[in-house]
């Protein structure tokens, strides 16, 4: 320890001096567990085994020995969770609320201990762990204690998934634990949590908190280790839902691994979030925003504002002030109360940051770094800004996950939006302007799950957080986050058998009662199109008699249909009322032709006339219901922190794919397509493979109903082959598939490519004619929540 200068000497330098947070309690705790930590399974710790060392990244010193989880450990933890789940879910919401409340209270009683432990394990400044991580974690448990108490009223008829496997990252170890465990427990799930290899210690401390708070054994289970136990958890039998926060790469692997298993999945993945500064912004506020955006938690934040975009005209002033601000940043011992930045979590991550920055420089970027005095040893990387970054530069596209932002310019709001959206990710965005019109306009246009206006990195348990595009799907926090840990009760229907493959071989027989030949083509962009392959397939009745021909669509038809759907983007921008008017008109026009459609259904499917008529009537009623919802499926304003309006907007995905069931060829089509388009999506629909003509007959109804071309696009043909093309398509945002189990697996697996949101269900489980075929759940599935934080005050 260097000699402290005299008071009079300090008065000449006016330095801050060291201000270390005491760590003796944590040291004593670590010493008490010098033999190592086991896993927390069934309410008790296992004996430490296969131990690995956890280090303090600021010093490289060993902190603790932690057990590497095995497949057997995961199996034991899942078994314990399964054993506990029934009783946990059977508790009243109020009883679960009291347990969650106790967890919140006990976390609060250990707040300083947990903050110090977190900073030692992760390297983040004590200021952040003390003022942000721990208070937010506590708030999450309080908030979800509340959800448990009101669950039966707020989510009637919903049930928990069962056992949730949860895998969390190393950047906010305790906070991510809270985000995962609190809603899961509130809903009546039990959990097996796998903390990050680098930062397992606060999770183990949390296990002790669970014991102190009297949580029933097995409700929370924690297995430590590297990616192997994580993979084992994803694969484990008896896990009903996987929730993962981490890299997009691993998220993809998990999507593939869970494909077709029936496990529910939510993914919070990476980001490359834009930070947009308009010329009329409070420039100093925006500069300070950069500090909170990219130098918060050493930039190891999935939603960090890592792409700074500044409007030409203020770019120089902004850059000058940013450089000046960088001069006063302090970095060093994470336990020092006067540092802005601590240590990078691990040497591996430090190397990754260094490599990416070096590669970015090699590709032409210019590096500007704060002249901070870095401690000797330990994993430190200074606050950094990269300029001269071409869009194709690796640092413009890759998530660095370190204290490094790129800085570029734009000319117009339109260009700002274009640059902001020029990324595979869609997690967050920050918009700086004093013009509320501009702010809200840009917030509406950026593809991001969270938008902060004149702010950045604001979080609250009541505000949904989560990504669009390759930043994942599912929300954490608020009502949307709660919904992610609940599901509808299991459907009672029996799986349908696969439809026969489409036959393109001529039957040599004319349809019964045929007048002038009717040609059912494909339909996209509001026009009927011949199939690219120039082939049609036979549509027959149950006795094999010809009813007509349908176009045999192929990959290129899907490609063309998706392009047509993208061109109809105006549909999302018109008012709900305008969409409703079109959809009501659609119902009206279908009604005018009801007998013809009923006859078509009867002819194709062989149902009795009354049943066919009932399907048409149900379809008309359903169109009305979704037309009505077009301007009634309300967005939400969440009470979060004072002085902020926190909007939760239900936004359409854009272009969706829909593979319809074989049965109920009209009602199945309407049940899936209407909620999607009522919310502003454009759809590429694969209608009933065996009975496609009810859908193709709709072309004229669409045209006479003023449905804009490209809103509904229809490709007939082999459902599973075409669905696979849609699943593989990187410019399709969501895909609904009702079909065979193999198709479900294939669609979910292929959707990992762009991490599109899927809803897949085996055909036959759901009764489309009843309550299961209609409702708000469809609208929730047709939208994703964008949370917009709007601070106010002049």
């Amino acid at each position: 320890m260097p000699d402290t200068p005299s008071i009079t000497e300090i008065m000449t330098t006016m330095d801050y001096g060291p201000a270390p947070e005491a760590s003796d309690t944590v040291q004593a705790w670590l010493e008490a567990h010098a033999d190592g930590f086991g896993h927390f399974i069934g309410g008790a710790f296992t004996a430490p085994a296969d131990r690995f060392e956890v280090q303090n990244p600021a010093t490289g010193a060993a902190l603790a020995l932690v057990s590497q989880g095995s497949e057997a450990d995961i199996a034991a933890a899942v078994k314990a969770a399964r054993k506990a789940q029934g009783a946990w879910a059977a508790l009243s919401g109020n009883a679960r609320a009291q347990h969650l409340y106790a967890l919140a209270r006990h976390l609060q009683k250990r707040e300083r201990f947990l903050a110090v432990l977190e900073s030692m394990d992760n390297g983040k400044p004590i200021r952040e762990s003390r003022d942000i991580d721990v208070p937010l974690a506590v708030r999450h448990f309080y908030h979800h204690a509340g959800w448990a108490a009101v669950l039966a009223d707020e989510f009637p008829g919903q049930v928990p998934h069962g056992v949730c496997g949860q895998i969390i990252p190393w950047n906010f170890p305790l906070l991510m634990l809270a985000w995962k465990i609190a809603p899961a427990l509130a809903a009546g799930n039990t959990v097996v949590l796998k903390p990050a290899e680098y930062t397992p210690l606060t999770a183990l401390a949390f296990a002790q908190v669970c014991m102190e708070a009297g949580l029933p054994p097995g409700v929370v289970n924690i297995v430590t280790g590297d990616g192997a136990p994580g993979a084992a958890l994803v694969a484990a039998e008896g896990v009903d839902k996987i929730a993962f926060t981490g890299s997009t790469g691993v998220g993809r692997e998990i999507r593939r691994a869970t494909a077709g298993t029936g496990k529910a999945l939510t993914l919070e993945l990476g980001g490359k979030s834009p930070f947009i500064v308009f010329a009329d912004a409070d420039i100093d506020a925006a500069v300070e925003g950069v500090v909170d955006a990219i130098w918060f938690n050493q930039g190891e934040v999935c939603c960090s504002g890592s792409r700074i975009l500044v409007q030409e005209g203020v770019a120089q002033a902004f850059t000058d002030r940013l450089h000046r601000r960088m001069e006063t940043l302090r970095q060093g011992d994470p336990l020092d109360k006067s540092v802005d930045m601590g240590a990078i979590v691990h040497p591996v991550q430090l190397a990754r940051i260094r490599d990416l920055v070096a590669e970015g420089q090699a590709q032409g970027a210019t590096l500007h770094q704060a002249a901070v005095a870095l401690p000797e040893g330990g994993c430190f990387f200074p606050p950094s800004i990269l300029t001269d970054v071409a869009p194709a530069n690796v640092v413009a596209q890759a998530e660095i996950f370190g204290p490094v932002a790129t800085l570029g310019t734009f000319r117009t709001p339109e260009e700002a939006v274009a640059l902001a959206n020029n990324t595979a990710y869609g997690l967050a965005a920050s918009v700086w302007s004093e013009n509320v019109n501009l702010c809200l306009d840009v917030a509406a246009q950026v593809r991001a799950g969270v938008v902060w206006i004149n702010a950045t990195n604001l979080f609250d348990a009541g505000a949904p957080f989560g990504g669009m595009r390759e930043s994942g799907f599912g929300r954490e926090g608020g009502r949307a986050g709660m919904g992610a840990y609940l599901r509808a009760p299991a459907r009672k229907g029996r799986a349908a058998s696969a439809p026969p493959a489409p036959q393109a071989i001529p039957l040599g027989a004319a349809p019964a009662g045929a007048g002038i030949d009717r040609t059912a083509k494909l339909y996209f962009g509001g026009a009927q199109k011949r199939p690219d392959g120039g082939a049609s397939y036979n549509v027959t009745d149950p006795r094999g008699r010809s009813v007509g021909l349908a176009g045999l669509g192929n990959r290129k038809d899907i490609r063309n249909a998706v392009e047509a759907a993208h061109k109809a983007s105006g549909w999302a921008k018109v008012s709900g009322h305008q969409r409703a008017q079109v959809l009501y008109y659609l119902a009206e026009n279908l009604s005018a032709r009801a007998p013809e459609f009923a006859e078509r259904l009867r002819a194709m499917t062989g149902v009795r006339a009354a049943a066919a008529q009932a399907e048409v009537e149900a379809s008309i009623a359903r169109i009305f219901w979704y037309a009505a919802q077009a301007d009634k499926f309300d967005h939400a304003v969440h009470p979060t922190v004072s002085g902020h309006v926190t909007l939760a907007m239900n936004e359409p995905f854009g272009v969706m794919g829909i593979a319809c069931p074989v049965a109920a060829p009209l009602l199945g089509f309407v049940s899936l397509v209407l909620p999607a388009i009522a919310m502003g999506n454009r759809v590429v629909v694969l209608p009933s493979q065996s009975h496609p003509l009810a859908a193709t007959d709709l072309y004229q109804v669409f045209d006479t109903s003023d449905l804009p071309g490209g809103v509904v696009n229809i490709v007939t043909g082999e459902r599973d082959a075409l669905a696979r093309v849609l699943a593989d398509h990187d410019d399709v945002g969501a895909l609904w598939y009702i079909g065979g189990a193999d198709g479900v697996r294939a669609v979910e697996h292929a959707s990992a490519g762009n991490l599109k949101v899927t809803w897949c269900e085996v055909e036959g489980l759901r009764d489309w004619s009843g309550a299961e075929g209609q409702g708000r759940a469809f609208l929730h599935r047709a939208t994703q929540v964008k949370t917009i934080w709007v601070p106010y005050g002049e």
């Binding site: 009079t8 300090i10 001096g17 409070d282 002049e794």
Partner: protein, 318 residues
């Protein structure tokens, strides 16, 4: 105390320096709130920072019941702000001194007399303090009176109506006239920010006052409903920074009113160091307008020396 900072000569009114400048309140509040959570000073550093605060304090009495004896007692405290045992315990070479003593114009003679033999300047409020709603010639006459009585610093109040009506020319003319009336005395322009309300207006008024030649800009009279706050101070320091960048002239900053604790003294010094740098931690560019703050600082410093918590009644009253 003599000033090391060259005086600010002012500039012609230039509204474009401030009219396009946006100030976002919630962002300013966030920054202000995290200043003291991002930085702290402990042990010897805390003692040094508290001592530095003492040399920046404008020890103030501005009450209707002020009397010459009351002022003399305040001046005695200004000469000897700390008990000898604390000065010895801290190992200081000499008794520290406050930045100035601040009084009403009619108390200036008493203060000058009580401070004779020191170089502690006497500051006087003037211009119809605190509301300033007097005819301009009377306000200017009051300045000249206070200077004539020996005040070396004049804390003027601006006409809030000029700011509320965005009559920047009237504000500039007024402060420039006051500056002229001050002569060699330094002018501190009190913006009464609690009555300007919006931070944009605080920024604009700060800039106009500096353009009119203010040597210091000061938050408040201490008599408004809301006095010195960190967000307001943040915006004023940013105006000082911007004025410095445009003209090269360093203007001082004085928060006043509502600051009572040693913790406040540290908080505002952190603000100065972070936003303007060490140069603004010296009394020629930074003053703390406070009356009861010194007492708390003395108690904290005694605790630093003895390790025991101190009692105010064991320290000399201000």
């Amino acid at each position: 105390m003599t000033s090391n900072a060259p005086r600010n000569p002012g500039t012609p009114l230039a509204p474009d320096w401030f009219e396009g400048v946006a100030v976002n309140r919630t962002a300013a509040q966030r920054r202000a709130a995290s200043l003291t959570t991002r930085r702290t000073v402990k042990r010897a550093y805390q003692a040094a920072w508290l001592l530095n605060a003492i040399r920046c304090i404008d020890l103030t009495t501005l009450a209707g019941d002020d009397t010459p004896d009351r002022v003399a007692r305040l001046c005695a405290k200004a000469r000897r702000p700390l008990a000898d045992r604390i000065v010895d315990g801290l190992g200081l070479p000499a008794m520290p001194q406050v930045g100035a003593v601040c009084v009403y114009p009619t108390m200036v003679t008493s203060a000058v007399k009580a401070l004779s033999g020191t170089d502690i300047p006497v500051a006087s409020v003037a211009t119809g303090f605190p509301a300033g709603l007097m005819p301009l010639d009377l306000r200017l006459a009051e300045i000249r009176y206070a200077v004539d009585q020996g005040a070396q610093e004049i804390d003027i109040v601006i006409t809030r109506a000029h700011v509320l009506a965005r009559d920047w020319a009237a504000l500039h003319d007024e402060v420039a006239a006051m500056r002229e009336a001050c002569g060699a005395a330094h002018l501190k322009a009190i913006l009464a920010t609690g009555e300007l309300q919006t931070l944009r207006k605080v920024y604009a008024a700060s800039m106009v006052a500096m353009q009119a030649g203010a040597d210091f800009i000061k938050t408040s009279t201490g008599k408004e409903g809301v006095n010195a706050t960190l967000p307001v101070s943040l915006i004023m320091t940013r105006a000082i920074r911007d004025y410095m960048a445009r003209t090269g002239h360093a203007v001082g900053f004085k928060p006043a009113g509502g600051m009572r604790s040693a913790k406040d003294a540290i908080a505002w010094q952190i603000l100065m160091k972070e936003e303007l740098g060490n140069r603004w931690l010296a009394p020629d560019l930074f003053r703390l307008g406070a009356s009861s703050m010194l007492g708390d600082i003395e108690r904290q410093l005694e605790h630093h020396v003895t390790g025991r918590y101190a009692a105010a009644h064991r320290h000399a009253l201000a």
